[in-house]
Subunit: 372 residues, 2 copies
């Protein structure tokens, strides 16, 4: 893409890759001797001390791009703004410690709303051991939020560098696994968008697929409970801070968080590690509430939907088995093997979805098309 | 102000103060044992090691609130976005080390513009020893930028905590001083706004005061040079990183950067240190180019205009004299004593401007009204 192209043509991920060399050039002449990892992973890493390294990550949320105030409470907005950054810290295998927030809001927003936002930030911070220690509040035509989290790695054995979960540490032959269940957040977003459109009387209300209503076994009460689970997964995600710590302690060294959907994030892991990824469709742990409410789309949402904030990792079978046992022993979500790292293909996509017999499936927008 | 009030009624500084207890509450139960300084100064401080502390600061810039793309190049925008954060790091007496940037832009912005933005960031980072190590680029209806800088303090003598420049370290009797000259940025903004309004044919072009044109000694060439100096002061500010290091090394312990104007920032220092401030109008180092181009408004812009990013500090006379000598010896801008910290007044404003005889002057919006 030429420099005369627009940002939209390049796309968000293309833009970061395009900017990295420009931003990174002063690093090379020894500007940052303590730097261990720059742009390109879930967080950057430097070494204030040899034994414990520091990580930093930042994420922006923009009104009507990443959230709508019609379907998101200020409390949930505060929660999610910090939670997605805590997830990035966890995705490096680090413990998040401190956070700062930049908040731009229109002048007519009520102070009570900002206080609710602050409570959401503070509550998720307290739950995951992260203190809000600074910020900047400015006027803006609509709400914009940027949160930065600093964390620290788990010290290693004396003389060894602290372990990290890196995107580029995958090796051919590694098993690929995910924590928890996938697709719940995308299902929750679908419910919220449908409700928002219905409330505003828009035509989109009928265009958005609504929950499956014809299953004899599902009572209205349990459908409501399932819907609540999906909405909560979208509005108040759970960063896998403790689970990531256990993965690292068990020797897992390749990992990232699932913010953009399993297919897209597996692609990024494959690019960073220079490998291919084979995912077995039947092994993907679809969120049960999603499978009940949207049976036809559940797999597509689990493969292609984003914002699950579960962990995607890779490692030798024995290491992942031990890690899974550690998660189970600590009451953390299950670790499910969903595929394997393979030699990078000479051409074509690096991520392939196969059926139980290993036969490749055609996938479009997360939707799996069974061939022949 | 009640919670039902709007953000506009409370104002930016009121909002931060209002939010601080909400954000800070989880810190108290021992959540952040290494925290040395939370919300309320130019940056937050924690102690990854006993000898060297870390600081973090964040600042947001919003299109049409903090800058206009009609009068700001993308390069300058990148420069300034990082420079204002480097200034906050310097204002703690710390060396900035690493920066991350969140950038929200409309999809129709050219990739070349973002590359220019990146070059501005990288250049100012390289000049002041700060590496860009991470970021997030997102779609937004207009340009929003948030930069976070992490730095480290200068190690102290063994066994002593690292020294900081804190807002709350001022003591009654301390002299008050500023680095460099004031008002240039506000003068530059006035020139840019006038040019922007003239270019767009708006009525504001005539309403905005234009440079003084009637001085016999000032050739058109030198007026152009003065205008260029003022515009550069606004668009490409110089963070006082080295100067701050010298102040700290000389024992200065109270300081902050001048981002919102001498009067407003002196007020914040007075609040934090629980003192009063007396400023002597005739001692304020008005930028020479400003005094030539806007002789009638120069003092008002130096007192009330913002974004100079010079340092405001306080300390015993001998300490400030030694610090001033150190700045001069290193080719840094002059340190000018402009007043003194006094006992806080029982009522009325904490900051008072006086004439050379000590007689209080009435000040409104930076404009000094001579009484009687």
């Amino acid at each position: 893409v030429s420099s005369r192209a627009s940002v939209a043509e390049l796309g968000e991920f293309g833009l970061i890759a395009r900017l990295a060399p420009t931003l990174a050039w002063p690093v090379s002449p020894g500007l940052a001797p303590g730097l261990k990892l720059g742009i390109g992973d879930d967080a950057a890493v430097w070494a204030p001390t040899p034994a414990t390294w520091a990580i930093i990550t930042t994420d922006a949320l923009i009104e009507n791009v990443h959230f709508r105030l019609a379907t998101t409470s200020w409390y949930d907005l505060g929660w999610k703004s910090l939670a997605v950054n805590l997830s990035d810290a966890a995705a490096m295998g680090a413990q998040p410690r401190y956070a700062v927030v930049s908040l731009g809001v229109p002048g007519d927003v009520a102070v009570a709303a900002i206080e609710e936002f602050g409570r959401g930030l503070a509550d998720v911070g307290a739950r995951y051991g992260t203190a809000l220690i600074g910020g900047d509040t400015v006027a803006a035509p609509f709400t914009t939020i940027s949160v930065t989290v600093v964390g620290e790695t788990v010290p290693a054995a004396p003389g060894e560098p602290p372990p990290l979960l890196r995107r580029d540490a995958g090796r051919v032959g590694d098993a690929v696994a995910v924590t928890g269940h996938l697709g719940a957040s995308a299902g929750g977003l679908r419910l919220l968008e449908a409700a928002g459109a219905a409330a505003s009387g828009g035509a989109a209300a009928t265009a958005t697929p609504l929950p499956h209503a014809g299953r004899a076994a599902a009572s209205a009460v349990s459908a409501d409970a399932d819907a609540a689970v999906l909405r909560a997964a979208h509005l108040r995600p759970t960063p896998r801070v403790s689970a990531a710590g256990l993965l690292v302690a068990q020797g897992v060294r390749c990992g990232m968080d699932l913010s953009d959907g399993l297919l897209g994030d597996a692609q990024r892991l494959a690019d960073a590690s220079d490998v291919g990824v084979v995912l077995e469709a039947a092994r993907v742990p679809v969120a049960p509430a999603l499978a009940r409410l949207f049976p036809d789309d559940a797999l597509a949402l689990a493969l292609g939907g984003g914002e699950d904030y579960e962990l995607l990792c890779a490692g030798p079978d024995g290491v992942l088995a031990a890690a899974g046992a550690a998660l189970a022993a600590h009451g953390e979500p299950a670790l499910t093997v969903v595929g394997r790292l393979v030699a990078p293909p000479a051409a074509g996509p690096r991520v392939q979805v196969v059926d139980a017999g290993g036969v490749p499936l055609a996938v479009e927008g997360g939707y799996v098309h069974f061939r022949g």
